[in-house]
């Protein structure tokens, strides 16, 4: 009763000024604050090395914070580790499976270690295998599973003990679109039908956009923007036009033409401007380039996306930012704490 009361508090996940430093690395998480409502799907979006997985490891009690505090399901992640672990399920960055065991053996082991009553272990395993579409493959060794099957089994394992809060660390990385869509459907169903709070990290804009009720964008360990996808995009407001001149040496000239229609913004491929008056300017822009005799290789109108939000907040594109970060994740555990 006590536990249920705690979980039903307004915020399933809270963090205040959470910090994680490593001796031989940068400050992976730098004073982040979080407040994830019960039943919400919260998307934690950022490039590789931004601090997403380190945050998840701290919230799941697998990595102690350097400073700050966090409560998950009403329990302090440092002081009440066992209670937090009872409340949560987690599928970490890599599908953590034993290639020599079958899918069913994984679920039975997990059900037993989670201390499910003996009579419930078999039926619960069968139910989850069916839910993630692995009934037919249940008695095959995991080393023969595809990436999508491993991810689905990983999700099933995280759900064995019926957690109220679910952490999914880049659950669809490396999956084909079919597997990705199936997993999105299951996550949605968990939140909608079962009322599970989902904390989902991703580097895919589309995933955050489609799945998350609210999105937090993290870069270099700091949350740079937070809100619903629609609100974040509305913050950027007007569309941008991107022009790639046919002759790359004409970029400065192209930028000066675009500057007549809006303020310049960063562009990965050419030059871009956020339009002052919306897409009605488009015909004028084409005419202006024509009048100046500047040949255009490509011209694109972008409605605001979460990438634009990231670009606006950090000055870099999310896709381009990937190359800057170091791979993070469980490897972080091997780093020495400061």
């Amino acid at each position: 009763m006590h536990r249920l009361a705690r979980v039903s508090e307004q915020h399933a996940i809270e963090a205040a000024s959470l910090v994680r430093e490593f001796k031989k690395g940068p400050r992976a998480v730098d004073h982040i604050d979080l407040a994830v409502a019960t039943g919400e799907i919260y998307g934690f979006l950022g490039p590789n090395g931004a601090g997403k997985s380190t945050t998840v490891l701290m919230l799941t009690t697998l990595l102690p914070p350097t400073s700050g505090s966090a409560r998950v399901g009403g329990f302090d992640v440092v002081k009440d580790g066992p209670e937090v672990r009872k409340t949560i399920g987690a599928a970490l960055q890599e599908a953590a499976l034993d290639p020599l065991l079958t899918g069913r053996e994984h679920l039975r082991l997990q059900a037993s270690l989670q201390a499910l009553p003996r009579h419930d272990r078999g039926p619960r395993s069968d139910e989850l295998l069916e839910r993630v579409g692995l009934t037919e493959a249940a008695d095959r060794k995991v080393r023969g599973y595809s990436g999508g099957m491993k991810r689905r089994l990983d999700l099933a394992l995280a759900l064995v003990h019926r957690p109220r809060i679910l952490f999914l660390d880049e659950p669809t990385t490396g999956l084909d679109i079919q597997s990705r869509t199936a997993l999105w459907g299951e996550v949605r169903r968990l939140a909608k039908d079962d009322g599970v709070t989902v904390f989902l990290t991703t580097q895919y804009l589309e995933e955050a956009d489609v799945l998350a009720d609210r999105v937090g964008i993290i870069d270099h360990g700091r949350i740079v923007a937070e809100g619903t996808p629609a609100a974040l995009k509305a913050e950027i407001g007007r569309p941008t036009v991107e022009v790639v001149p046919a002759d790359p040496t004409e970029e400065a000239h192209a930028a000066s033409i675009l500057a007549r229609f809006g303020e310049p913004v960063a562009s990965v491929r050419g030059v871009a401007a956020r339009l002052r008056t919306g897409q009605a300017d488009l015909a004028e822009i084409v005419r202006a380039f024509d009048n100046e005799g500047l040949a255009v290789g490509q011209l694109q109108l972008h409605q605001p996306s979460l990438d634009d939000v990231f670009l606006f907040k950090t000055g870099r594109s999310l896709e381009g930012a990937d190359d800057e970060g170091e791979e993070e994740g469980l490897g972080g555990l091997a780093m020495e704490p400061a």
Partner: protein, 258 residues
């Protein structure tokens, strides 16, 4: 207590299943020590003519070696399995359950002990087929099995310690040649009192592996040698206690969960 026992049983069962599903990890620890036994039995036969040599059967004398060599494989297999769990994140998954650390360590050694018993049964059977009879009788065989399980646990725990410190299967496997040096600089091929090279005799006397071999050998060749058994069991218990303590300490660091 019931929950802890249940956890140990579950993890031990997984360890046994994993071991049996890796034929290479079963065949190598059984076959390679027997190959060394065959080579040594043929090559060192003349030793039995040395004055003071404890037996006329070189096979009986050398039969102690496969037990210790086989236990070295335990180090590698147990450590490599745990290192793989660390690398795949499976240990983190287990960490998110109410599993107790001690259950992981003891359970992980379950497969090692199972394989150890299989190894011991094969070595004893091969020895018997080659005409070796235990001077200590059937009770000696039972004591040997207990002793061998203890040695396997000690070496297996060393493997766990190495895996937990490094998190790398390759690092664990690199220990194997180092352990082999200890095996060769011991009384495996000749009794210490018959060694003529002084530095080798000193090294073999200082080497704990000599006493493990001599403990096994005493049961096969001599009968009931209290000193050899006390030294053998004493060293095995000490190594097991130290190795399990180190592994438990490393597991605490590795789990790092609050």
């Amino acid at each position: 207590m019931v929950i802890l026992a249940d956890q140990i049983y579950l993890l031990a069962r997984r360890s046994v299943v994993r071991t049996l599903r890796q034929p290479a990890n079963v065949i190598a620890p059984v076959v390679f020590p027997l190959m060394l036994l065959a080579v040594n039995s043929g090559g060192l036969k003349a030793e039995t003519h040395l004055p003071g040599f404890p037996t006329t059967s070189i096979t009986a004398f050398i039969l102690a070696v496969p037990f210790i060599q086989g236990a070295l494989f335990a180090t590698m297999n147990t450590g490599t399995d745990l290192a793989r769990d660390i690398q795949t994140g499976f240990l983190s998954r287990l960490s998110l359950t109410p599993m107790r650390g001690i259950a992981l360590l003891v359970g992980q050694l379950g497969g090692t002990v199972t394989l150890g018993l299989l190894q011991a049964a094969v070595y004893i059977a091969v020895g018997y087929a080659a005409g070796v009879r235990f001077a200590s009788g059937p009770l000696g065989v039972l004591v040997l099995l207990v002793f061998f399980v203890l040695v396997v646990l000690a070496f297996g725990a060393l493997g766990l310690f190495a895996a937990l410190r490094t998190g790398s299967g390759e690092a664990v496997q690199s220990l194997f040649p180092a352990f082999f040096v200890f095996l060769f600089i011991s009384s495996m091929a000749i009794p210490r009192n018959l060694m003529t090279v002084h530095w080798f005799q000193v090294a073999a006397t200082a080497n704990p592996v000599s006493y493990l071999i001599e403990g096994v050998r005493s049961l096969i060749v001599i009968g009931w040698d209290a000193e050899a058994l006390a030294l053998g069991f004493g060293i095995a218990v000490c190594v097991a206690a130290v190795a399990i303590s180190l592994a438990a300490w490393s597991l605490h660091d590795r789990l790092a969960r609050s």
